[in-house]
Symmetry: C3
Subunit: 391 residues, 3 copies
């Protein structure tokens, strides 16, 4: 039994008419502030007879609209394959998506990572493995492209499948310090076969890339729409991480080629880089089996308690500052999803290994967007705060 | 892991044309009987590192429309503050709302308590404390006024906040009998800042007070509607409880002043009083840390079992009778929410500390209601039965 | 805490224009393939003070639309009555419905069993008992006919009740082999009082019998619609099971007489029979307390693991083949629900007592259906695969 609670507050102190229009449809109506739950999850996981495992995790943050997240069954320790899972699970591209929202440095994921892999999880069969010396890890599988966490089932004669994989190496890991220093490199990608044919009775065309402004908004400000005629697309992604004690440097780049029938082919791409630094000397641990961030354990927990004997006692927790640059180009030919660039300053206050507070200040610009109320470009400033526990 | 199941049956044997219209819109169409689940809840709660706590509780009684109830994270034992919770939690006014539905004497809450604090829980930050001698307890906090258990998020540039608090004293507690006698007095209130401005793009005006006829109906028979121009309101509530062994006497009164821009200010108020008596000598325990009813533990459980050795054995459980008078005036100036008066007879059969059956017979009258199908007044008789377990 | 995950894939390789129309409304548009979750459940169950029990089980397979399944509270060991449950629980007719989906031989339930008892569970009060020698078991109760797992409540002045029961005997049980051989016979039925009156303001007429083609389709291909004037109906069902080690023979027959006001009375009926055989010498256990299939425990689990010392080791699990013939006649007088006949080949691969894979190939024909796009008959071929764990 595990779960998490994320409580968010978002405000939009500085929008231009263009981003007003992208959010509200009206250049004069600013995005409304938001206060609510970002994630309210709990679920169950376990193993069967030591050779199988299962997991169900529900997301209740939207109240009436429950959704599932990880829902799978699978086998462990299969020769050659290691772990094989069947069910709803993350597609294997985009480090920032493979990282849990419990450990990620920034509140929301970068344009390109979320845009090319909206909500990450799909129904599929995926294998997970790593080498005995923990230097290599990989995952590869076949997925249906439809996001079904809200519907539960994909209906359509065109399967809209994709084959995706990721090969990663923890090429450096400082064992003596228990991993305060490490380096990670990975290449990931997918060959996807969406249905842009417009055949009557079929499922919706899954060739669509879209994302919010790295914040919680009502609409998605970058959005290619369903790409007419999309026949297949090829995505490749590169990841690099360097960690030196309290300092972490991360960068990713993804490029996506979309082949179309009866239309010009289009290409989208983007990337991000961030630097994060712990003021308190802590570090971000690394999981070498999955090639993702691991749970941060502060050197000193935050607490301020009234004790019976000793009066008030307290600790400071861990403090981290971070900066991220992010860019995505979702506009090409007749597809005008927008070109976004954003800068995010982050401050994280870790109370203990299971709870923290995060603050982000974001400035961004969007150009080359299809016109909404006649506007194709705009800029914005957004502030976000999150309280978080997991258990 | 905890939860509850409440199964309800409601029938409407005697309605007048007015209350028919309030429920169905048609003076000749009576309210339909109801059979179903009132509450189907389960969730998780726990503590983190001894200094933090969390809770998620889901309500599944509406089938497709899941909702959350308590969802919070927080700290314990903070100096001066004691417990501080962030998240969805009960606003601190109205004893009958602060009491758990597991322990309340009557099936549904009184007009004024539910009307001024619909569904009780809001997203906010609230502190909870009590004095070492357990004579005083208090809670105070800041809340958003929007009910988000069905939506998960409040969206709006006007925050629609409120500051609310409650100071209570258990001025008498009979320690030798382990609390068979006690007296409680509390004053509670809120200063709320709803958005009655009607500005385009904003969240809905939260200045609305409404409630059902202390029973489960489809529509709310008392309803002010959204009060145009509401700028802020001030609510004050008084609570008094006396318990003498099997006898309990409870009364509450609340008064609400609504200030409006461009309209006449309005005032609403109401109260209730009840007497409850255990035929079987049991009593209703009191929680002095929160100033609310505690779990009733029957002197003898109800059971009727076939034993291997002794034949049939049985026990009678605890039996309680009760009467409640309730009144609310939600009509003033141009706001015609209705004036309701109701009388409820209750019979509770406690099977054990975690299960009981309840029966209510209600007679009530509503006047001064805005016209529905031309009718502004009516009376009604309602019967309700509930089966309940919690775990 | 228990639950289950069922992942399904369905394809429709051979439909005629008629069954195309039954599914899509268009004779030229074939049913679309499906990939998704059939069941994603978890919930809680427990006992209170040894004399009471409760259960809540949620179904999350539909994503946004959560539903509840078993939700009840009740008593154990009552003299004469034994167990008595109040809440949402299965109506006591149709062995194939009383069997858990975790143990059933085929992916979906036969026409007549599902058609006369759609989704099985209703809100009611039901008693469960068995004789000391385990030769007899029974269940009987009163239910509301409305399916409320999606709404949570039935609203209507006409109660639409039914009294239903089942008396079963395990007339043969081979104790020395721990139940590898047994014989079961049962008679079940209901007297139901639907509301076909068409009175304004009432709940919907519950006299409707419908089912999918023993597979997962969007629409129900057999469907009587709401039977106008239905006043009451009487259903009787017969069940017979013979098990000889790895071989199981099962048959059921149900007949339903519907009395109508102002229309001709109608009769519907149907049945099925299946034979199942374990290639691996396993058998299907029987629960003599409930008169239903029990958990299958393979003689050898399926596994293929990489061990540290011994290299690769594996087991084969249990393999079962099966054939089912099923027929239902839901057409009589002016009610043209359709007459269906289907043949199903099944292959089950049990990995361990809590996980298996199932494969079904179905050929069926439907006649005498009310016209859709002018068509009243059709045939179909459907393939289905399921991965399943429970915990």
């Amino acid at each position: 039994l595990s779960g998490r609670i994320h409580v968010d507050q978002w405000s939009f102190p500085g929008n231009s008419p263009g981003t007003n229009a992208f959010e509200t449809g009206d250049p004069n109506l600013t995005p409304q502030d938001r206060l609510g739950f970002r994630r309210v999850r709990f679920g169950v996981a376990g193993s069967l007879w030591k050779t199988m495992e299962y997991k169900i995790e529900m997301e209740f943050a939207a109240g009436n609209d429950s959704e599932f997240r990880d829902v799978y069954l699978g086998w462990n320790d299969i020769p050659m394959v290691q772990t094989l899972l069947v069910g709803n699970q993350k597609r294997p591209y985009g480090l920032d998506h493979l990282n849990s929202s419990r450990y990620n440095v920034f509140l929301e994921r970068p344009f390109v990572i979320e845009g090319f892999n909206q909500d990450a999880r799909r129904l599929g069969v995926c294998a997970y493995g790593y080498s005995d010396d923990l230097v290599w890890n990989w995952r590869y599988g076949v997925f249906n492209q439809r996001l079904i966490q809200d519907e539960g089932v994909y209906v359509g004669d065109h399967f809209q499948g994709e084959g995706a994989g990721r090969l990663a190496t923890t090429f450096w890991y400082d064992e003596p310090s228990d991993g305060r220093g490490y380096g990670h490199f990975a290449v990931a990608g997918t060959l996807a076969n969406p249905d842009g044919s417009g055949t009557p009775g079929r499922g919706p065309n899954e060739a669509q890339f879209r994302t919010r402004p790295e914040a919680r908004s009502t609409r998605r400000w970058l959005d290619t729409g369903q790409i007419a005629g999309a026949d297949n697309y090829q995505l490749i992604g590169l990841e690099n991480v360097w960690n030196f004690g309290p300092v972490q440097l991360v960068g990713e780049y993804q490029h996506n080629w979309v082949d179309r029938d009866g239309f010009e082919d289009v290409r989208f791409h983007g990337g991000y880089a961030y630097i994060a630094y712990f003021l308190t000397g802590d570090y971000m641990p690394w999981d070498r089996e999955s090639g993702t961030l691991d749970r941060i354990k502060p050197l000193e927990n935050f607490f301020l308690v009234d004790t019976c004997n000793d009066g008030v006692r307290g600790g400071w927790g861990a403090w981290q500052i971070a900066y991220r640059w992010s860019h995505a180009d979702f506009s090409d030919q007749d597809v005008l999803g927008g070109v976004g660039t954003s800068h995010t300053l982050g401050l994280n206050w870790y109370w203990n290994a299971y709870a923290r507070m995060q603050f982000n200040a974001i400035y961004g610009e969007i150009d080359d967007h299809f016109p909404i109320a006649g506007l194709t470009a705009g800029h914005y400033t957004i502030l976000g705060t999150r309280f978080m526990v997991d258990f």
